[in-house]
């Protein structure tokens, strides 16, 4: 028997690991939910969940934390996909939380930070105790130190200095009532791995991931689409540009990048050649301070 014949590619190894993690959660934790934003990483997670439990159905609901600032293409995609897979969709709505007084609209109009209490309230209401998130360790340096199974206390908080050691493939999901586990099956994937997988599996994405014409303004060195959530400010010049989105988040703080990549192959070439991280290129919310992500995660953000 030669070992050379029993090789697997890096994508197969990553897929096998993610499927293992998803099955482990469903076997050990009673009320999992998958955070589904309509972004490419959560779409890849859905595909992995399909594979993990085939020929059965995905045995957990999906949850969308809806800031009310959505790209219509992404909402359309979400609803279509949920219907195709026969999934239960839970919407944790920021507009409703604003109306009820749970959170207040921040002065700058971006709702990234106020998503957290809305997420935590929905988790409590539905008694979810395991939340699948699509975060990857290559995204940001605080995430580089987060576990695959990340323990959260009863306030949803992450304590980076008090994480459980994670050895071999032995994940510890034990927790007391009210506490929960965030699970990141894509921890070891990079942006390029995700795109290679999308190409290999022929996964459909919301159209805004591919190059298209859009009216934008330039702000803080980034291109923002002009829309009802993000009007042009006085003195800002509106112009048409050929762009695509590298990440999909709140429409009021997610920027586009100039691009001609209108197919998955062209996107892969572009991602491979780019010298700026995806969050650095497109996320106004990470720029607040050097520890912006760590601070939000401590409060219970993904």
């Amino acid at each position: 028997m030669t070992s050379a014949a029993y090789q697997v590619t890096h994508l197969d190894a990553l897929e096998a690991e993610s499927i293992f993690v998803m099955r482990e959660v469903v076997a050990e934790l009673e009320r999992p939910v998958l955070l589904f934003s309509g972004g490419k990483d959560s779409i890849v997670m859905l595909r992995l969940a399909q594979k993990a439990f085939a020929p059965g159905h995905i045995p957990f609901p999906v949850m969308h934390v809806d800031t009310g600032h959505n790209f219509p293409e992404v909402l359309d995609y979400r609803d279509r996909r949920v219907a195709e897979l026969g999934l239960q969709l839970v919407v944790a709505s920021v507009p409703e939380a604003l109306a009820s007084g749970l959170v207040r609209e921040p002065a700058d109009g971006t709702r990234n930070r106020i998503q957290t209490p809305v997420l935590l309230e929905a988790v409590e209401k539905h008694r979810f105790n395991a939340l699948f998130g699509g975060a990857r360790r290559d995204e940001e340096k605080a995430r580089a130190k987060e576990r695959m199974f990340s323990f959260r206390d009863e306030f949803g908080q992450w304590d980076p200095k008090n994480q459980r050691p994670e050895l071999w493939a032995l994940y510890n999901g034990r927790h007391h009532s009210g506490e929960s586990i965030r699970v990141f099956p894509l921890s070891n994937w990079t942006e390029l791995d995700v795109w290679h997988y999308i190409a290999r599996e022929r996964i459909e994405l919301p159209s805004i991931y591919y190059a298209h014409e859009r009216e934008v303004v330039e702000r803080d060195g980034m291109l923002y689409a002009v829309n009802e959530f993000l009007p042009a400010r006085a003195g800002e010049e509106r112009f048409k540009a050929r762009v695509r989105y590298r990440t999909v988040g709140d429409a009021s703080c997610t920027a586009a990048v100039r691009s001609d990549a209108d197919t998955v192959e062209k996107v892969i070439d572009e991602v491979a050649a780019t010298r700026i991280t995806e969050r650095g290129a497109t996320r106004g919310d990470d720029r607040v301070s050097e520890a912006a992500m760590e601070d939000r995660k401590r409060e219970g953000y993904f």
């Binding site: 028997m1 029993y6 360790r137 050691p165 510890n172 650095g280």
Partner: protein, 433 residues
């Protein structure tokens, strides 16, 4: 063509690009962060905004040079105190391989982090400063790698530029380490003279050391043969989850989902299920993409059997003539990871071994090992944080276990505190009855 473009090309052509996980151990003083920064930079895996952020912070702190440690020290406390407190994972790729680095701090108070990083590593990279030679820490790192059975070890003798690229200095350190490693029953060992700061022998062979005839570090990382590290002999399939769709379209389906721990599973193979001991044949090995002819590590698959047997999570599929031990008395080396309460004889804990959960009581602590001198202290009565010792456990239900040296998946377990739910220890089975 950039490395990534080449990597893309490799995937597009269907040329297999595999995955290598390696752990790095050492402190900032050894130049570990510089080496990682260098590997990321030279494989174009470092992004300009990351570099710019590090340069800005370095300048603001008044560092004399761009401090690449800031790249890996991701937490606020680490940056403020200039220390590394946790395992950080880093990623880069070349046309041949994708690499996952588990970057762990080197000091003795972080032994648990190093054990964690080494547990999944195919290879471990140990750094020494050429001016200082082997120090206590280098020997400790080598010992931990051998304890965790990391199959490949690379000793990087760094800062060769500061010893005038001296062959004599290098060979003295290499000889001393090789002699030491032989005592540890260490696996495949490679020693490379480098200068991480200047890039000597990192991506390409250094012109400053014509006397060195071995490979550059990256060349070795790309080509070291890891396929045969896997155990393809002993069939071990821990059942993770039973798939029984409750649907009108799929009826009477019963599949056992899991990740192959070792061995090769094929349709038609006679198998035995533990702990029941019932035998059957494999009817099919399936994935969501259809049936496969064979399954081997690290594939996640679903196995269907010809007979209806009662099988649940935590059971193990193996072969009738090659089965793991079914044991409730376990001899193991344990690394203790909890700062609040030590391991004590008589202590009761939960353990997780493969997909099986059990409770265990510590029957005996044979000795505590001094991981610097390897001296065995048989008078020890407890194991504190970062201490390693040999224990005997009695479990509530049998474990389906192999010796760790033969099988890293069916030989390893974690110990969980039943009050706090924290992972407090890592165990490696040394003897099965």
């Amino acid at each position: 063509m950039s490395t990534e473009t080449l990597a893309t090309a490799a995937v597009a052509e269907g040329r297999p690009m595999d995955l290598l996980r390696f752990a790095t151990a050492g402190s900032v003083d050894d130049g570990k962060s510089t080496l990682i920064g260098r590997l990321l930079y030279d494989t174009k895996s470092l992004f300009t905004d990351q570099l710019a952020a590090v340069e800005a912070v370095s300048a603001a702190r008044g560092d004399e040079y761009t401090n690449l440690a800031l790249l890996t020290d991701g937490l606020r406390a680490e940056r403020e105190q200039g220390i590394t407190i946790d395992v950080a994972y880093r990623y880069f790729a070349t046309p041949r391989r994708k690499f996952i680095i588990a970057d762990t701090p080197g000091h003795i108070q972080y032994t648990r982090n190093m054990v964690t990083g080494a547990s999944t590593a195919d290879l471990a990279l140990i750094l020494v400063d050429a001016r200082k030679g082997l120090v206590e820490q280098s020997r400790r790192h080598a010992f931990l790698c051998s304890l965790l059975r990391v199959p490949h070890l690379v000793l990087c003798v760094n800062k060769m530029d500061l010893v005038d690229f001296s062959q004599e200095v290098f060979e003295r350190i290499a000889d001393e380490f090789t002699t030491f490693a032989a005592k540890l029953d260490a696996p495949d060992l490679t020693v490379v003279p480098i200068s991480a700061l200047r890039g000597d022998n990192i991506v390409s062979r250094s012109e400053n050391m014509p006397w060195y005839e071995g490979p550059a570090l990256l060349h070795h990382l790309e080509r070291v043969h890891i396929a045969s590290d896997r155990n393809l002999v002993d069939v071990r399939f821990p059942v993770q989850y039973v798939i029984r769709p409750q649907s009108t379209t799929v009826t009477d389906y019963r599949g056992y989902a899991g990740q192959v721990a070792s061995g090769v599973l094929k349709p038609g193979d006679e198998v035995m299920v533990l702990p029941s001991g019932f035998t059957s044949r494999i009817a099919a090995v399936e994935t969501a993409d259809g049936p496969v002819a064979e399954a081997f590590p690290p594939m996640s698959v679903t196995v269907r059997l010809e007979n209806e047997i009662d099988i649940s999570r935590g059971d193990m599929i193996c072969r009738p003539n090659n089965a793991p031990a079914v044991a409730q008395d376990i001899e193991a080396m344990v690394c203790w990871m909890d700062e609040t309460r030590p391991l004590q004889v008589g202590g009761k804990y939960s353990i997780k071994h493969t997909t099986r959960a059990a409770r265990a009581i510590v029957r005996d602590l044979h000795y505590r090992l001094d991981i610097n001198s390897l001296h065995r202290d048989e008078s020890a009565t407890e194991l504190r944080l970062n201490e390693i010792g040999r224990v005997r456990l009695r479990t509530t239900i049998p474990l389906l276990a192999d010796e760790y040296r033969r099988n890293r998946t069916t030989g390893g377990f974690i110990i969980i505190d039943e009050a706090t739910n924290r992972t407090v220890g890592a165990g490696m089975i040394v003897e099965t009855p």
